[in-house]
Subunit: 474 residues, 2 copies
């Protein structure tokens, strides 16, 4: 039976685009090798019609489907279960920029276009596609949409959800919904695209999207600051927003433990600041003013932040290379942790006003469990999103630390966020890892509605089954 399915799928997409065994293996684990599964086959359709034909075949034959983009998700959404009964549908070959309309400031792209490819195409017409996440070289637009990717420019430009105007989606029965509209205003009926954005492939397979482009800012300025506490960091943020408004594009907090870890990971690179500080802030502004005017405005605000005692040191990047160096520090924290191993990764958000209390109280609770824990705390504080990742003391192995403390620390961090009306998953989604935790943080009304939508659109439960939606108690 499996053999026959594989033959039939080969007929649809061509022999070379059905992968089995060792060729399929890299698709069956996530890139961090945390989640592992087994597929019936990896199918690589070359266009929307082939996705449709594959999906129709699976619908008729009751085969479940795991859609996969760049496979860079963090919570297991892109990996099949262990039964070997699902196929993985890789969208990587849908990698064509279909159209760019510079006047309309839109770009129509296939789901398999990588984020960096999309950014480059926008730059090619002098425009900005503003999504910015660490995996931009390998993550794909379809995956960015399916997880509603966030990243470091959300403060100014919004999440992926805010950066899309239209979608093309293959529905569970194989029908194609053409919602590729490039309109900034369209109230002719329900806005269905939002169902598929952030649904992690459980409701349909996104095959193409119309993305919004933005004017390229004339000037980008970057600064690295020292500060004493998250309270003071927030005071700096408030000052900057008041004075520079939406020009504040990124506002990233970094704990001293995170700084120490990442500088060591970067071959003992020196800090941008001369002395150590309890906390650091990386800030970026974008402006239509010229370089001199924009920088003088930024320097003015930073001076006031220093005078007020909110900041304890500050340096503005002298050029693009230095700005890139500042960003490298921020961006390499994640890899520094992966390499060190033994971290408890949490991706919470809380209302901005609650960040200081969250960091203070949750740090105390973690240290009460294991006082030598290093607090790798960083994130997009300007939008309330904190990556709060306790990591093993230098003299404790990853295995021992995670086995002994992992579950308890993760739970207390998520609980602390929930108690402050926060989210247990700010930008990483749900996948399989956070699925059952939704039972305790989402109301029955909300879970019932989610299931009602799932049943309405995917009545045979073929699309990425077992992901996102927890089984409900009777």
């Amino acid at each position: 039976m499996a053999e026959q399915h594989i033959d039939n799928l080969r007929t649809i997409v061509g022999d070379g685009n059905v992968l089995l065994g060792p060729e399929a293996a890299t698709f069956e684990s996530d890139y961090r090798r945390v989640f592992h599964g087994k597929s019936l086959a990896v199918v690589r359709p070359g266009n929307t019609e082939e996705v449709s034909a594959v999906m129709r075949y699976c619908y008729v034959n009751g085969i479940s489907v795991v859609p996969q983009g760049g496979n860079t998700s963090l919570l297991g959404a892109s990996v099949p279960d262990a039964t070997g009964t699902s196929i993985i549908v890789s969208l990587a070959r849908l990698n064509r920029i279909r159209a760019i309309d510079a006047m309309n400031a839109t770009m129509t792209v296939g789901a398999g276009v990588t984020l960096s490819q999309a950014r480059s195409a926008a730059e090619g017409v002098g425009a900005l596609f503003p999504l910015r996440i660490g995996s931009e070289g390998s993550c794909q637009i379809g995956g960015n949409l399916s997880t509603n990717a966030g990243g470091t420019a959300v403060l100014r430009y919004g999440n992926m959800r805010d950066l899309v105007l239209g979608l093309e989606v293959v529905l569970p029965d194989g029908r194609i919904w053409n919602g590729l509209r490039g309109l900034r205003k369209d109230n002719a009926g329900y806005d269905l695209k939002h169902l598929f954005i952030g649904a992690e492939g459980t409701l349909g397979i996104i095959t193409a999207a119309v993305l919004k482009l933005f004017p390229m800012p004339r000037t980008v300025s970057t600064a690295f600051l020292g500060t004493n506490s998250p309270e003071d960091a927030l005071a700096i943020f408030k000052l900057m927003r008041e004075r520079l408004g939406t020009d504040v594009t990124a506002f990233e907090l970094i704990s001293s433990d995170a700084m120490t870890l990442v500088l060591s990971h970067l071959n003992d690179r020196p800090s941008p600041l001369e002395t150590p500080h309890p906390w650091y802030v990386l800030v970026e502004t974008s402006s239509n003013a010229d370089q001199e005017a924009a920088e003088s405005q930024l320097v003015g605000v930073l001076s006031d932040a220093l005078s007020a005692g909110y900041a304890t040191d500050a340096v503005v990047a002298a050029n693009a290379r230095q700005a890139a160096d500042f960003w490298l520090i921020r961006e390499e924290i994640s890899d520094a942790q992966t390499q060190t191993r033994g971290s408890v990764r949490c991706d919470i958000s809380v209302p901005l006003s609650c960040i200081p209390a969250f960091v203070r109280d949750t740090t105390a609770k973690v240290l009460a469990i294991e006082p030598a824990t290093r607090m790798i705390v960083y994130g997009h504080v300007g939008d309330g999103n904190v990556h709060f990742n306790p990591i093993r003391p230098a003299d404790v192995t990853a295995e021992v630390f995670v086995r002994t403390h992992g579950a308890a620390m993760a739970q207390l961090i998520d609980n602390a966020a929930s108690e402050l009306n926060g989210s247990i998953s700010a930008e990483h989604g749900v996948g399989i890892a956070k699925r059952d935790e939704l039972l305790s943080v989402r109301s029955r009304e909300e879970l019932d509605m989610a299931w009602a939508i799932k049943r309405a659109l995917d009545p045979r439960n073929l699309l990425n089954p077992g992901k996102v939606l927890p089984a409900l108690p009777e």
Copy 2:
């Protein structure tokens, strides 16, 4: 039976909050008196729990419900049908600002808070709630959400959908979904709020919302321009976006016939420009620069637009009063039409790049039907939204013009927009008036999905039945 329902509803909301007969009449027609219906009663709950109890009562008893905010919608969504079997649930008493969190830049408001009340509350903490539409004194936040209101600041700040972080909704069975989260990043499951935004009350009753606040811009500059054509207007827009980026907050096009009509309506007010022009543009920028710097930047771009011949004249408002005068011209066009009577009102959007062709070709088609038609064309061209409203020649009565040409002109305008991948309803929604037209502009896949959602969330079809969703042919 009806008497008993009324008595039971009185028990829930209090005698004074169930209106019948003449007291109910103003709720049974829209404010323009275009749509008329009959209700069993108008029920005015005082809080979310009362909305829930009313809805539960209606669910058990199979009574349909028309939710109503400020009753300023244009296509009949807020008006019941003629049977007198539905109740109108007015949300007007849910008019409390529940909370403002200035640091988090959010505000939690009841559905019955008016837009101007919300804007004032934001200003009270030095922040901006940016939605700006003509009816702000009477329209309510719940209605703004249910129709995904647009208006004149969408270019910079987005539609109502983009201005909300969380919702509280009473579901068709009376259960309350508390989704009042004030988070800019939250990927813990499906984002259900988008289902209710723009659904015109067909899926649930929005009772409260967490709105986003924005930094108040330091400087607002306003200019009035003359130009020869929509092509030239777009060239000005492109120049401004390249030079001023997202500072361009509003970019409104006005036809010469619209200008003539509105100036006459405003007691023969003089034009801001010395000579007549074929087209006019009203532009607003917001900036963090000081007044002098911002204006000098604006004047620089306008000079270049004049030198390039894109603009034929331009005047920058000298002060806030003059800016308000410019805006009054734009805002009174709608009332000028209402008073003149005999206009065919269309609210289309097309990709920006298609605006010149749309205006040129569609004007020619309208004038081919009746050469003396006055072309009241205006709108938010910066986001592709054109109000394209042919109005009767001065010597033809409204009745004759609308009877003779109304349907044909409306149809050709909507067709022209559809052919350019545009929308037949950019910001006014669907209601009852545009419902059946969806059959020709939306695919079967899309309409099937919309109905699947409707059946999943409102299986007894009690919420605003007959609105938005057209009956599908077998």
